[in-house]
Amino acid sequence: MNNPVTARRPRLRGIAVAGSLVVAIGLAGCSSPSAAAPKVPQNLTVAFSQETVDLNPYGSADAQQGLRVVDNQIFDTLVTQDSKTGKYVPSLATKWSQPDSLTWLFTLRKAKFQDGTPVIAADVVADIKFLAGSASPLSSLWSTLASVSADSTSVVRITTKSPLGTMLANLSLLEIAPASDITKSDFGTHPIGSGPFKVDSFTPQSKLVLSGFKGYWGGAPKLSTLTFADIPDESARLTALKNGEIGLDWVVSPDQVSVVSGTTGISLQESDSDAYFFLWFNASQKPFTDVRVRQAMWYAVDTKAVTKNLYGAAGAQMTSPVPSSVFGSSTQTPYAYDPTKAKKLLAAAGYPNGFTTTIMFASDSAPLIQQQAQAYVSYWAKVGVTVQLQAQPTAVWLQNLLALNWQTELQENFATTGDADYTLGRLYTSAANRTGYKNPKLDTLLSDARATTDQSKRKTLYAQAGKIIWDDAVGMFPIQERDTYAVRSTVKGFVPSVTRAPSFLTVSIGN
C-alpha cells in the first residue's frame, strides 16, 4: 500500500536539504557551515489494545493491563524482572539482603520523584502499608506482611509472618510514590512517581500525555513526550498507525496481521507473552457449585480447535492453569473434546436437559475475545446449555468481576511476574474469593509454596496446586498467547516485552 506520509518524506527531506544549502551558502561568508541534520521532534504517540481507566497503582484497577502498561512509565519499583533471564535485578533498590528468613533489608539508590523531592525509605514504607491494607486485587500478595519500617532514610526493613518466597516478585509490582501523595484525591489522575516519564494530562479512556523526566536516575529518556491514545477499536488503531497518527500499536490481533504486514514503513515484531485466557465458573452459584457441571462445560468445548482456528500462530493450547513459560507451570491431563461425556456429567449432576447461564467479558479487551466467547456458546448449545453473551464496558466488567456478580466469565489474564504465585497464589485462595471456589487443601498448598524459599520444592507445590485447580475445573484454561507489535520505521530502539508493558526509556524517533 502506498503510504502518503512515507511517500512525502523524501520530498520533504529534499526541501530540507535545499533549505540548509541556502542557509549554508548564506552563512559561508561569516562562519564555517555546520553539517548537522535537522533534529527530529522526539514526540511519540502509541496505542495498545486495552483501556486505561485509572492511574492509581493501589486502586481497584491495579492488576489491569491498561494500568500496568502506563504506570510502568510513570513509576519505578524496587526491583524489576529481567525479561531475558527471568532474574530480579536492582531498580530503585540497589541491593538487598535477608538477615533471617522472615526479614528483608532493601537499600535505596539516590533518586528523585518528578516533583524534585528525593525518594526516601519512609515513602516505600507508606506505600507497602497502604497497598497491604487496601482493597486492591494485589493486596492479597501481601497477606503475610508482619511489619515494614525504615532503618534509615535509605534502608527499608520488611518482616513477614512466615517466609515469603515471592518477596521480589511482589516488589516488582509495587510502584513507589511519595508518601504524601498516595492518599490525595487526584492520585488516580495526576500521580507523581520516580519513573522516566511524568504525567502532563490524563483523560480516562481517552488520552494520557506524558513528558520525559530529565532528572530520571537512569538517565533522561530520549523522547520529550510520550502519548498513550486510547483507541479501543482495532481497525481504527491500525488506520491510525498506517497514516502515521500513532507510531506503535500492540497487540495486533491474529486476524489483523495480514492487514498491516507488507505495509511500507511498518514492521511487525513478534514476542513471547505472559498473556493467556481463562474462563472462570462462579462456584458460589448454582449450577457451578457442582464440580461435574464445571468439568462438563470444559469437556463440551474443543479448545484445541478454537485455539487453532481463531488464533493460529498467535496462540497455543494451555497445559496448566498458568502459561508454560511461567515458573510453577506443570503438565496436566488435557480435557479432550467429548460432548457425550459432558452430557453424562451434566445428567449426573442433575441437569439432563442443561440449563441457562451467562458469559461475561469486557468488550474489545483482548484479541478475538468476543469471537472466542461466541465459539464457546456454540459448543455449549450442543450439550443443551444455553449461554447468553454479556459484553460489558471495562469499568462495569471490573466492578462486576470483583463483586462476584457473574456466572461464567472470560478474560485475558497476565502472569505479570513470571511466577505462579502471582496468578495461582493471588487468585485461587479462599481468602481472595475471586471465583467462589474454596478448598482448604489448595489454600495450604499455595501458602506453603509462597512461604518456601526452596525453588524446586515450590515448583512441586505449584504442580500439585495446579492439578487441583485444573481437575476441579475452577475455570477453563484454553489459550496462551504470542503477541504481535506493529511498529513504524521511524520509531527506533523499541523492544517488545513479555508483560506487554515495554520500556520507552531508550526509544527515540528517527527518520
Binding site: D233, E234, S235, L238, D255, Q256, S258, V259, A305, V306, N309, L310, S363, Q370, Q371, Q374, A375, V377, S378, A381, Q388, L389, A391
Partner: protein
Amino acid sequence: MSEYSEIDPTGLVEAPRGRATRPTKATLRERRKRRIWPTLIPVGVFVFFAIFGPLIVPFNAVSTNIVDRLRAPGSVLSNGSTAWLGTDQVGRDMLGEVIAGARLTLIMAIATIIIAGIIGIVLGLVAGYFGGWIDNVIMRLADLQLAFPGLLLAILIAGVLGPSVRNVVISLAVTRWVTFARLARSSALSVRKLDYVSAARLLGASHVRLLSRYLLPASISPLFVLGTVEVGSVVLSAASLSFLGLGVPPDQVDWGSTIAAGSDYLLSAWWISTMPGIALAGLVLSVSVLGDKLQARFAAARSR
C-alpha cells in the same frame, strides 16, 4: 412539499375527490409515473425473505463454525455447502445472517411504527378534537421532544434500558410518535368543523364515537402513507442503535450489529459489513421510493 400549511404540514390530508375528467396523454404519463406497483416489488422481496427466508436458509446466531471463518463469497465450506455471500468472523453463513437480520430489522421497524403510530394518532386526534389546554399540553410536549435529535434521545433511552429487541422498539417508538401526532392533529382540525361531524355531534354521538368513527377514518390514509415513509428511517435508526451496541444483544443478529462486527475486518474480509450494508441501503431506498409514490398519489388526489 409545495402545499405546506399550518394545519397540514405534510400535505397528505386527503380532500374529498372531485369528478374525474377524461385523461389526456400528459395525465396518462403522469399516472404512469405515479404507478405504485413497480416500487412494491423490491419491498415485497424484502418482506418475503423476512417471512420465509429463515425457512429456506436456516440460520442460528448461536451456532458458530470456526473452521470456516472469514471465507470469501462463493467459497465451498468444510461441510461441502457453498457460502454465496461468504462467512463472518465466527464462521456463520452471511446469506443466512443477512436474511435473519432482515427479519429482525423489519420486525423492529414495523413494531415501532405500530406502537408510535397508535400513541401518536390517539394523542394527535385528542389534541385536534378537543383543542384548548389539552391541545396545548400535548403539542408543547411534542415540540419539547422535537427539540432533541431523535437518535440521540433513542440512544439515551436504549442505553438506560439495555440491549434487547423490546427496548429498541420502546426507545424508537418514544422518539417517533410526534410525527404521527402532528399529522393526526392537523387532520382532526380540518375535519372537526365539517358538516357531517357537526351533524353526528348534534345527533348525540359521544366523543369516543366521534373520534373513532368520524375523525380517524378521515386521516387514516395520510397516516398510512406517513407510516410507510417512516419505515425507512426507523430501519436506519434501529440499525444505528445496533451498530453502537445498544440494539440487539450479541446473541441475536440484525444488520446494524453485523455491520459493526465486520468493521474490524473491512480491509481483510469486506463482505461481512458490505452484505448487510447493501441490504440495508436497498430496503431503505425502496421503502422511501414507495413512500414518495404514495405521497405523490395522495397529494395529486387531493389537488384534483
